[in-house]
Symmetry: C2
C-alpha cells in the first residue's frame, strides 16, 4: 500500500488543508506521503465500524461522510462531513488503541486519505508544527461539536430545523431524510411535515423582479 | 487586580492541572501568575453572559459551573463542570474577540482562575509547550463535547438518563432538576417520573448481606 515517491502527490489536498493553519516542514510532508494511503469507499459502505480497530483519521477529499452510533439497535446520526475536512470515529485521547464505538459511512462515493494515529502521534512527538496545526484543528472541531451538542438540545423541533438551516453548515438536500431526522433528534414524519411547511412558506414569499 | 509576586501561588492548581499533560517552563508559569486573576463568584451568579465580551477561559478550582444558552427565551443547559477543569463560553477560534452567546453560571459558590485569551494566544505564539498542552486539552474537550452531542440525540428519554448515569460524568444529586432536564432534552415532569421509577427499582434490588 506504500506509494512510491512519484505518486506522493496524493497527499497534497491534506497538506494544503493543514498549511492553512501553519507551514509543514518538507520532512513531515514526506512522512505523510509515505505513511498515508489513498482509498475509495463506495456509496453506503462503512469506512470504520466497531468491528475495526479505531486506528486512523481520514481526510475527505471528495464525497459525503456520515458519523453514527447504535444505541439499543437505534441508528443515531451524529454528524456529516461534506469534504475538505478531517473525520474520525470518536476516541478518548488516553484510551488507545481501541475499537470504535462510532461508525463512519460513505453517503456518496468517497475519496479519502487515511492518516494512521501512529503517524499523528509520531508527528506530535517530533515536529513542533504538528502540535500547532493539531491544536488549531482541534479547536475548530471542538467548536463544531459544541454546536452540534447545543443544536440537539433545542426543545422545539421546528427551531432545531431552522437553526440548522440558518447555520448553512449542511446541504440539507444532499442528505437522506431519515439521517437528517436522526441528526435533528426528531421522527421522520415530523421532519417531513416541517420541510413541506417551510418549502410552502418559501414559495409564498414575494420574489423581487 | 495584578497580584504581587508573593501571592502568585494562587495559580498553582491551574499549573498542576496543565502539567499533567506537559511540563510548563518557569517563565510561562510566571506569566500565568502575573496575568491571571483569582475570583470568587457567588452561587447562581453569572461568570460570563452575552453582555460581556468573551475574553477569558476559567479554571474551576472549586464549585460547580453550568453552561447554557438562550434560544427564543428558552434556557438550554449545555454542560456542567464539577471543578479541576477549564471552562469557557463557546467561541469560534477565527472570530475573536466577540461577545459570548453562551452563559456560564455558578451553581455553587465558585473559586475561579481567570485566564485571558490574550495570554493564551501569547503562550501559543511563544512557548512550544503551550501548543502541546493546548492540543491535549482540546482533544479531551472535543471528546467530551462529542459525547454530549451523542447523548442528546438518543431518541428515548429513559435511555438518555441511564446513559448519563452510567457515564458517571455528572453527580446527578448536585444539579437542580430543571437544569438536568434541559441538559437531557426532556421536560421536568419526564425527568421526575424517570427518577422516581429508577430510585424505586434500586430499592427493590436484592442487597447482599
Amino acid at each position: 500500500m506504500t506509494p512510491n515517491p512519484d505518486s506522493s502527490s496524493f497527499v497534497k489536498p491534506l497538506i494544503q488543508y493543514m498549511e492553512q493553519y501553519h507551514p509543514i516542514s518538507p520532512v513531515l510532508v514526506a512522512l505523510y506521503a509515505k505513511q498515508c494511503t489513498l482509498l475509495t469507499v463506495r456509496k453506503n459502505k462503512h469506512i470504520v465500524s466497531p468491528v475495526d480497530s479505531n486506528a486512523a483519521l481520514y481526510f475527505v477529499v471528495s464525497g459525503i461522510v456520515r458519523g453514527f452510533i447504535k444505541d439499543s439497535d437505534k441508528d443515531i446520526t451524529t454528524w456529516f462531513c461534506f469534504g475538505n475536512n478531517i473525520v474520525g470515529a470518536i476516541r478518548h485521547p488516553d484510551l488507545q488503541p481501541n475499537h470504535s464505538v462510532e461508525y463512519l459511512q460513505a453517503l456518496e462515493d468517497c475519496e479519502l486519505i487515511r492518516v494512521p494515529y501512529t503517524l499523528i502521534e509520531y508527528a506530535y512527538a517530533n515536529f513542533e508544527e504538528a502540535n500547532i496545526v493539531g491544536r488549531k484543528l482541534l479547536a475548530l472541531h471542538y467548536y463544531a461539536a459544541s454546536e452540534r451538542s447545543i443544536l440537539a438540545r433545542i426543545p422545539n423541533a421546528l427551531r432545531r430545523y431552522q437553526k440548522l438551516e440558518e447555520s448553512k453548515k449542511i446541504d440539507l438536500n444532499k442528505i437522506p431524510l431519515r439521517y437528517l431526522a436522526s441528526y435533528l433528534g426528531m421522527r421522520l414524519e415530523t421532519l417531513s411535515r416541517i420541510r413541506s411547511k417551510e418549502l410552502n412558506k418559501a414559495d409564498k414569499e414575494p420574489v423581487e423582479v
